[in-house]
Symmetry: C2
């Protein structure tokens, strides 16, 4: 029940085990073409889609390395762990102007607008901050970016396919997701969509070599890859995208929303505080719920106790280590998974004396998840 | 029968399909530790080994981007297609001094020494040039590199585990291999070994971000990765390395040597010329055999005819397109695979009127492959 890598469905595992094919064959080109087309539906975009054989970070480097040169500025907005990566990338290829908000608190849109007024070639946000369980205002930042003519880069790694994610409507020039999150694949692929105006800014020989966005885009137009792709993971992606279509993209997001609501209502019933603060421009994530570790129990007792009982949940990262715990509800996660997780949490809380009877959390989750 | 991606054994496919685990778990750390240890045996080295989730090119970028800065020179020696990639990488991060020999001809060691005398921070070679089927003199270039105090980088992508590859004895500072070649895994992992003197040259914030060798090395010491690894491929790598040990690393190389000899003897019996020219410092590859397309038959007829009969072999790349064909004998390839391939080749040659009876190639291969 961690927020990725998530459990991989049997169908996807079977697809991944298909006999190897040459990555220079027309068979591979057909798979890539189908995946690119299905990804455009998933990202709700008409933009080009490319797939890199690497983690989400490879996709983030493709975006920043492709757009930002040594004389360029990128505003990197952050309210959690993953925003930091954009800042490192920005400083590797140009200059990052870090706009930092306390972890788990909403963006201040006025400060973002003020930063854009200073001038920047691009602005990056993390849509779903996995480290704190908050969904950031992509639509609003997209409007500001467009008004100030900045390329808008969005890390949608733990968001696309789980939360609502409207690439074109929100004006996202480069959107990135990873395979091991809402798509429920093993890790190892990064999916990136690129707007026409972003594509026009790409130049030969810029940015990283392996993650060279122009090289990937140029080849993708022929449904090929510049370097040997992780073919097995492409088999798996094709199957996962078919499964997503079978469930229905909207139904799939609605399922994850129900599950996350179940977790939040269970937390409330068990007197556990949610970690992020949300306002009218931000929201609790439907793919990961971050909760404060209750007083009277340590992180080791809580997560260790759950792990002993067979359920693995995540802890906090960096400064939040020991202070929060996180439950993922992305990918192939089901109502039963959430009920078992909450039940296990209750057993641990009971053992440590934080609650005196079982059932309140499970009941709240059960009610909240009802269709 | 192409020189990678190769057929993946069932045992490896099954291992790849194991249930997902967190990449931040001690279970993953144990797998990474075991793989690193087994890789050191495979590379015959005491150097550190790291694994990148990406193609061999990611490993090449890790090497060049880690060592070469904008004021540095790297000599890139090439006699085939894959040498070009080092030149592009060298020019991305610093300056590449290209030392080019006609494709498929041996290196001229005197010219290499002369280039080193001009001064360079590093020199790169491709040990097994997959595009032309030649094995280049790593030992001899390694001696020259050491004498001129240059970091020695070797692309061993289609070589390690197939041809003899003595990282420490040959003084290789950074050696690279890929998963989809001699190890018979799906593509998607790059394995890199790094000497102490190369590691000491690495600096924070240099080279590519996703392929940052220092970041990977620092994390590898704790058996962790800087970014989310392709966990399923690590499962597969662990199993493939166990299988290689079961067969015996030397026995495995001897098998590939026998198979390649079978292909070469069959070619000779069928009056087909081998493409590469070898001398005392170079050799025919044991992992891929490149042959000239015989007069009187087109590439389309030859490879198309074989494909129709169920056997896929590779053609020439770039200027060699239509002029050569290549048969891979790496990974899990067996005597039966070679015999079937030669038989299929004979059927096509017979149909096109280049030979008048069947059997000479198969017999020659059969004799040559006898243990």
């Amino acid at each position: 029940m961690i927020p990725g890598p998530v459990r991989v469905p049997q169908r996807v595992l079977r697809a991944m085990s298909k006999p190897m094919i040459s990555h220079r064959s027309s068979d591979f080109e057909k798979i890539y073409e189908e995946c690119r087309s299905r990804l455009r539906e998933l990202f709700e975009t008409e933009n080009e889609a490319v797939i890199l054989s690497g983690s989400g970070t490879a996709g983030m480097e493709a975006a920043v390395g492709g757009i930002i040169g040594k004389d360029d500025k990128i505003i990197t907005v952050t309210n959690g762990k993953f925003g930091e990566r954009f800042t490192e990338l920005g400083n590797r290829y140009g200059t990052a102007v870090l706009l930092e908000f306390p972890w788990g608190t909403p963006y201040d849109l006025e400060r973002i607008e003020a930063a854009l007024e200073e001038g920047a070639k691009a602005i990056s946000i993390v849509h779903n901050e996995t480290s704190v369980g908050i969904v950031n205002p992509a639509k609003e930042v997209g409007e500001l970016a467009r008004r100030h003519d900045a390329i808008f880069i969005v890390d949608g790694i733990s968001s696309v396919g789980g939360n609502e994610f409207l690439t074109d409507e929100w004006g996202i020039d480069i959107a990135i997701t990873g395979s091991q999150k809402c798509l429920a694949l093993p890790p190892g692929l990064a999916m990136v969509t690129v707007s026409k105006r972003a594509a026009e800014m790409l130049e030969d020989g810029k940015g990283g070599y392996y993650t060279d966005l122009k090289a990937h885009l140029d080849k993708a137009k022929k449904n090929q890859t510049p370097y040997t792709p992780a073919v097995s993971l492409f088999f798996a992606l094709q199957e996962a995208l078919i499964m997503a279509e079978e469930e229905g993209l909207a139904e799939r997001r609605a399922r994850m929303a129900r599950l996350a609501k179940g977790v939040r209502e269970a937390a409330s019933a068990l007197d556990i505080d949610l970690f992020p603060q949300v306002n009218e421009h931000s929201a609790y994530s439907n793919t990961v719920t971050a909760m404060k570790t209750p007083e009277g129990i340590t992180d080791g007792q809580l997560r260790g106790g759950m792990r002993e009982r067979g359920v693995v949940v995540s802890g906090g990262q960096s400064a939040l280590k020991g202070k929060i715990f996180r439950i993922g509800t992305m990918g192939a996660c089901t109502e039963a998974d959430v009920l078992r997780t909450i039940q296990t949490l209750e057993l641990v809380l009971l053992k440590e004396g934080l609650i005196s009877s079982l059932g309140a959390g499970v009941e709240a989750a059960s009610r909240a998840m009802e269709r």
